[in-house]
Symmetry: C2
Subunit: 195 residues, 2 copies
């Protein structure tokens, strides 16, 4: 149910359309939470029905229209409650580590490729997250800039610090995953000396 709270987080800054939100999920929030448009539009309708949002039709061009949502009092309260409550941690479900545990079944070259794919995947994420930290530090993050504009100056350091802290955690995790996969490559070389 975190999608709902990811949407509330974004809509707490300013009113947006489903498409605006979808774009955010492809870039900024998408680095912590992903959702396709087909999940966003119905969820917005449900949230409106539940009183967390209010949507209004906005004219767009000559014949077009779009639906812009803004957060309600109840929506703000729900988000605050979620933030103050405790998160349930779900049980482990990790395909990469499941596979790693049985790597003796794979051909040495396939095992190596698995490790390289792990490195590629986490390197790509690392770059995105490092870019995010750079944007936060330089004040060039559009979403953060708009957020700060709605807050008193005394709140700026907190808002900025928590965003940076989040991305630094993700960066450290990605670096760890890369280091692990590199150990994996070394291990494979050790176990299959000729291959």
């Amino acid at each position: 149910m975190s999608l709902r709270y990811a949407l509330l987080a974004l809509l707490s800054v300013e009113p947006m359309t489903g498409y605006d939100l979808y774009k955010e999920f492809e870039s900024s929030v998408g680095h912590v939470w992903h959702a396709p448009d087909s999940q966003i539009y119905p969820e917005l309708r449900r949230m409106e029905k539940d009183g967390l949002l209010e949507g209004e039709e906005v004219v767009w061009g000559q014949r077009g229209k779009k639906r812009q949502y803004h957060i309600t009092e109840a929506g703000t309260a729900a988000f605050r409650d979620w933030m103050n409550g405790t998160l349930e941690y779900s049980r482990v479900r990790d395909p990469a580590h499941l596979k790693a545990a049985y790597l003796e079944w794979a051909e040495p070259e396939a095992a190596r490729e698995q490790m390289r794919a792990h490195i590629r995947h986490h390197t790509a994420q690392l770059e995105q997250w490092r870019e995010k930290v750079r944007e936060i530090e330089q004040g060039t993050s559009p979403m953060l800039t708009r957020r700060l504009a709605t807050l008193p100056a005394s709140e700026h350091s907190k808002t900025t610090a928590f965003k940076k802290f989040t991305y630094q955690g993700l960066i450290a995790r990605a670096e760890q995953e890369i280091a692990w996969a590199q150990q994996g490559l070394a291990l494979i070389d050790e176990l299959y000396p000729a291959g």
Copy 2:
């Protein structure tokens, strides 16, 4: 669809009943992949229908019976194919980091509690995984012992090494998460000096 392969991995060692597998998911494999009994039983039926497994009724006591599954040639091939193929990485969906990014919305004490919960969660996992590594090193892991018994001595080091490698990766990740949450606690103290 990794549940299917987690089941094949276990059944590659020896025939088991749904309940045996469920027990394994509560302990050994459960540390990399969790599944409830209500997911295991139907999946075994589907895998049997797909020719990956064969089940036979085994008498159990006077009136009781149980269904024991053993892996087929096709099942072994499917598992090997999965091991030699490449894994799809799914998009990020991380409630703990989503929440961390908006921690300025939470009461300072709730923010601290979130970080402490993160530490508690990963500390608990860390202990389980360290125990697993200890069992592997000392040769007291029942599942691994049975697995090794089916293999020539020349294969023992590989099988053992990959299991240990897997758990070491999970341990490093948990340690990183704990370190991150501790930085979070320090950050909260810094941002809310009086609270």
